[in-house]
């Protein structure tokens, strides 16, 4: 499928929506029965590349008009951050969460940029956990969006989720 084309002649708005040239990430064609399944699939796609490149990747989780869930393809951030507002959900869908990854275990250079160690005992970033700025950002983005969740892929391979309503972090 080339960018801008619907994946099938019968595609409905918000159901496997076509890419729009102004968005920075395209929806992935598969859809999922639950938000968690979509998030797991997104992180399974993003995390290995994130670790190998030691770069944060991320995107958005959305609900289609037919009640199934999808995610935008992983977009690259920087070595220390990812901005979900750089991505849009497809037209006709509802934003229900965001995901990002943390790259590999790293120390920091003089400017605070990550330098890979691949060693959890030498990690200046606490990469296996949400940072408080992650949690604060998810809480802000969840305002007026019941059910919104933040998802994280870590260098350990563990996936975490944050529920801003109960303010709890758990394994995905």
């Amino acid at each position: 499928m080339s960018k801008g084309e619907p994946s099938s002649p019968n595609a409905k708005p918000g159901d496997d929506a076509p890419c729009n040239i102004i968005v920075t990430a395209c929806p992935v064609a598969n859809t999922y029965a639950t938000q968690s399944e979509a998030a797991k699939s997104a992180l399974n796609q993003a995390n290995p590349t994130s670790i190998s490149q030691n770069t944060e990747y991320g995107g958005l989780i959305y609900r289609n008009a037919n009640g199934r869930y999808g995610y935008t393809a992983p977009s690259a951030g920087s070595g220390t951050g990812f901005d979900p507002s750089s991505v849009s959900v497809p037209p006709g869908t509802t934003l229900v969460g965001d995901y990002h990854t943390h790259g590999d275990y790293s120390t920091a250079d003089a400017q605070g940029n990550p330098v890979r160690t691949a060693d959890p005992s030498q990690d200046a970033f606490d990469s296996n956990h949400f940072s408080t700025t992650d949690l604060r950002g998810i809480e802000n983005d969840a305002a007026d969006k019941p059910g919104y969740r933040g998802y994280l892929g870590t260098p350990s391979g563990t996936f975490l989720q944050y529920n801003p309503n109960t303010r709890t972090v758990s394994n995905l």
């Binding site: 951030g77 920087s78 606490d126 949400f130 700025t133 604060r136 758990s170």
Partner: protein, 87 residues
Amino acid sequence: MNEEKAPEPIDKIPPEAFLVFREEMAKREIDLSKYNLHFYQTEEVFIVATSYKQKPAGLRGSMVGFPDYEVKILRKDNSIKSTAIAR
């Protein structure tokens, strides 16, 4: 991890803990005037999180070249538990 409560935001931390935070930042030659400070607590620690004042609102982690920090101070004796760069 089964389920873990996120650190609870609080208005401020005790002066003794804040002094430890300031000393840690001074040791790292970090100019605090460029950052907003945010305070949290758990049963074990106080946390001071810095956020670079010019940082985009939605950004997870830090801006390139402008790291945010998270300093955890043990409540029991006001010693540094850890200092991490926010990612």
